[in-house]
Symmetry: D3
Subunit: 208 residues, 6 copies
Amino acid sequence: MLHIFFLFVLLFSSSHASVQDFCVADLKGPNSPAGYICKAEANVTVDDFVFTGLSKAGNTSNLISAAVSPAFVAQFPGVNGLGLSIARLDLAPAGVIPIHTHPGASEILVVTQGKITAGFISSANSVYVKTVKRGEVFVFPQGLLHFQVNAGGRKAIAFVSFNSPNPGLQILDFALFANNLTSALVEKTTFLDPAQVKKLKGILGGTG
Amino acid sequence: MLHIFFLFVLLFSSSHASVQDFCVADLKGPNSPAGYICKAEANVTVDDFVFTGLSKAGNTSNLISAAVSPAFVAQFPGVNGLGLSIARLDLAPAGVIPIHTHPGASEILVVTQGKITAGFISSANSVYVKTVKRGEVFVFPQGLLHFQVNAGGRKAIAFVSFNSPNPGLQILDFALFANNLTSALVEKTTFLDPAQVKKLKGILGGTG
Amino acid sequence: MLHIFFLFVLLFSSSHASVQDFCVADLKGPNSPAGYICKAEANVTVDDFVFTGLSKAGNTSNLISAAVSPAFVAQFPGVNGLGLSIARLDLAPAGVIPIHTHPGASEILVVTQGKITAGFISSANSVYVKTVKRGEVFVFPQGLLHFQVNAGGRKAIAFVSFNSPNPGLQILDFALFANNLTSALVEKTTFLDPAQVKKLKGILGGTG
Amino acid sequence: MLHIFFLFVLLFSSSHASVQDFCVADLKGPNSPAGYICKAEANVTVDDFVFTGLSKAGNTSNLISAAVSPAFVAQFPGVNGLGLSIARLDLAPAGVIPIHTHPGASEILVVTQGKITAGFISSANSVYVKTVKRGEVFVFPQGLLHFQVNAGGRKAIAFVSFNSPNPGLQILDFALFANNLTSALVEKTTFLDPAQVKKLKGILGGTG
Amino acid sequence: MLHIFFLFVLLFSSSHASVQDFCVADLKGPNSPAGYICKAEANVTVDDFVFTGLSKAGNTSNLISAAVSPAFVAQFPGVNGLGLSIARLDLAPAGVIPIHTHPGASEILVVTQGKITAGFISSANSVYVKTVKRGEVFVFPQGLLHFQVNAGGRKAIAFVSFNSPNPGLQILDFALFANNLTSALVEKTTFLDPAQVKKLKGILGGTG
Amino acid sequence: MLHIFFLFVLLFSSSHASVQDFCVADLKGPNSPAGYICKAEANVTVDDFVFTGLSKAGNTSNLISAAVSPAFVAQFPGVNGLGLSIARLDLAPAGVIPIHTHPGASEILVVTQGKITAGFISSANSVYVKTVKRGEVFVFPQGLLHFQVNAGGRKAIAFVSFNSPNPGLQILDFALFANNLTSALVEKTTFLDPAQVKKLKGILGGTG
């Protein structure tokens, strides 16, 4: 009877030659609007679906006293085509994740340690801010400006998941002050004072 | 023979009881993640697919010397569920559309009069700026910060289309300075100077 | 100058009458294939985007020594239309989340305490199993059978996020043994022995 | 132990209050871009997922010697939100399904009796025509003009499936000649001779 | 006049250099989350859109007295990117398609011969079972466990269509008993008796 | 302090190695169902997001006294994956864009000069026609037959945007008369008179 079942298995397996339950990214290969080209299924192991890089705290010895450790497709090729990714936020007591957007995804945050004041602003210009603590969840709609700030006296940790393998990350300060967009254009399109623009471009390494 | 064809027509029309080529929004009705509930097909006329509100220039007698006249679903219910919307930009000689994002859509702009310097910043913090003139097209990827500035000495007009009936519009200055997000949080998450924040909140009517 | 800006704000706000950055579910209202009808924007507060129910451990005093505490749209209406949801897994030392699928979403798991052996089986019938510990991440592709088992001697906690507000949850044992699917059909379509089927139907309360 | 499992079942069932594996259409209710509002789950039975209307041949005693019997959402509410629908084609010996498109879906056809010559034309204006017989399959890409013609001397039957609950159906002859589009416009936009337009409008009941 | 039209044709054809009405899979090439890379349009013929492999009955001389003959993208490259695929089910009198899921698609079944008892179980653990006969249709929502069993005394045939070129196929018995998932894990996550697991692993060729 | 920020920038930029805000098409590379493979980000400049080809009028010295100048992905690789494209219509006084469909997208038209009578026919065979002038907008749902005709005595110009980088374009006259679809099949599936078919095939260069 065993051989009969093997025949049956064969009948099915021949149709599974190109199962696409997943499509682990071949990061050396090209990208497409839907994601990377898939690594050959024969070379896929469980390690493609596991990411260990978020087990250590990110280094918060910096000006913002915070760190974002991403597991997007570039770090975690297994998420390619699966519609998800994740990152870890570490905030030292004065820590701040500066205001930013994710052009490509919504975000769901869960606090695993400490207290975080999180918020976003909607297109209608309404403000939604709340302090959340361990085990509490905050969801941020796609593409809207949002931030997280440590609200307690001790370090805070959160995990944030996104409904895209590559949600993007546009940090406002970098976009305005850390590239070569001319000061004239920054001032013109933001109404910020020239002195302010000059100061932050200086700190963030922008030119122009 | 006519009656045979009518029979044939009937055979088909009975299957068309709920054709959903379109779904003109019933703006008095509820909204859903995919768009508004549809107006009854019997009440749909060609006027639901035509919008005349962009034929006049928007009023540019304001601080930014510019105007945006939208034909999103709220103004043009016919676009509900069709994946598109459009708006008109008018820029007087010193006109500026302040830096902003559309959380929900990419944007394609065509200049119909004058010259416009347009640009966007990517998540990778690269800057893409160019001056375009009549008949020229600029495309802005979804969710990224971008702006348009009049680059000539006379008024400029452009039409911008979006791949969503409701692309959203988050203007940076409004999000930071024109609502009740506390100055403390604005300063903390943007590193802007308190004096700058206070000044722009004052001008834009923000509180907190 | 203030009044000029208010005029400008008005120009924009009139176009924001139906911004759809989000669509908090009106759970008393009807559902549609894309999600629930939206609650009126005027009634939306930050509490719609915050969920506190996962801050307490689920009750693991049961046969599987485990609990799943969901924050799907039914518990957390704010995720409606945002493409995300989350849940908390608690596993006591012998805890097991029985083998199951999520028909509607992929899942990304992060361990926040203890050690968990997690795994899934692909359509090609390959098995992917690994033990993950605190801070480590495992991703499960949509629709595939998977499970989590406590791998350590102390309690384990994980948070799992899904790329749907309502990923669904089909637990194999319930589907086979806890409803009124006839024993004859269960035996016929699974090749399980009648005695096995009868036993588990007895335990799980199935009939037929 | 039974009561423990019931407790476990309860834990899960409370989270299933709004499972959306399916969304049987409430055809008396409103439609939305994603489909009809869902019928209450408590009122759903297996009969919502079964359609018996295609078991009889359609009536082919008409000019085209053919019939299309649809099971789109209007006839088969259970397909609402499931991304599929189906129809039955009956072609008497001289039968013809006149050239038409489905704006909203691709189509996959399987012949269950007889022989059918089927074909489509691509946007690049290439023609793909072949005669298929029982058990053979032809796939038609979304939105392209296509047709089926009986290729044998006896009746032919086929089942066609679509990747939409409501693929739409635009029959060329109806669109040009069976409504009130003015003859002037028809002639202008098709370059057909006035006599031809007048003749077919007469047969198909068009006006204007 | 002919040459004027050719000029017109040229104007259009130059813009059609990369029409993507379809994207016949190059099965020797790589896969991506959205499907295979396209075969060059110049090499596409009507045979790419026709599949003849379902015209013969599958071989039902096996333990389940049934066969599934797929026309997924691996067999039928023309469906790549078109959102559809199809398969043929043959059930001898005692035939059974064992309980299984399609992670990636919904399924619509039409019986073309005989009688089939078909059913699925929902996430809410409700059972939907009915016997359908020739010409009758049953739809199965995506990702849910379902089965088909011959309900008559003679052979039954059905065609099943899916709203994906590659719906996936997870057969429960194979997933539990026909691979190297350890018996310990199978028992732990299914609560099946060790003897049952050992027996079926033996029959199905599983190890571990 | 500068070095601290650079460290911070590095933390982020390492996660941006594969940002996919955009995916400029490598037109020499392969296509996939979701679009072309992306050009390397390092080679992307602002010129990839700008298209100048619509600044000149198309040549309307032809039989239809009209021209369509597309900026689809084949002409404008920057739109790849962004969900948008655009084209320019020029109509001389007697100009006509013959009746056609876009299988893959809806279309939104804005008139920038002159007057255009535009219209479409729905699947339910209702006709929606209106004359629009400068600044006025007409939206055409995906896949439906539509046309534009110059309604004034002077030349008309419009820009049309689509919610796809490659909407496709099926011109009815070309599909029926400008290829090798046999006259027999054309007559059979359209009920057009043989003389009409022969005449237009002759003019449009069709064979068969």
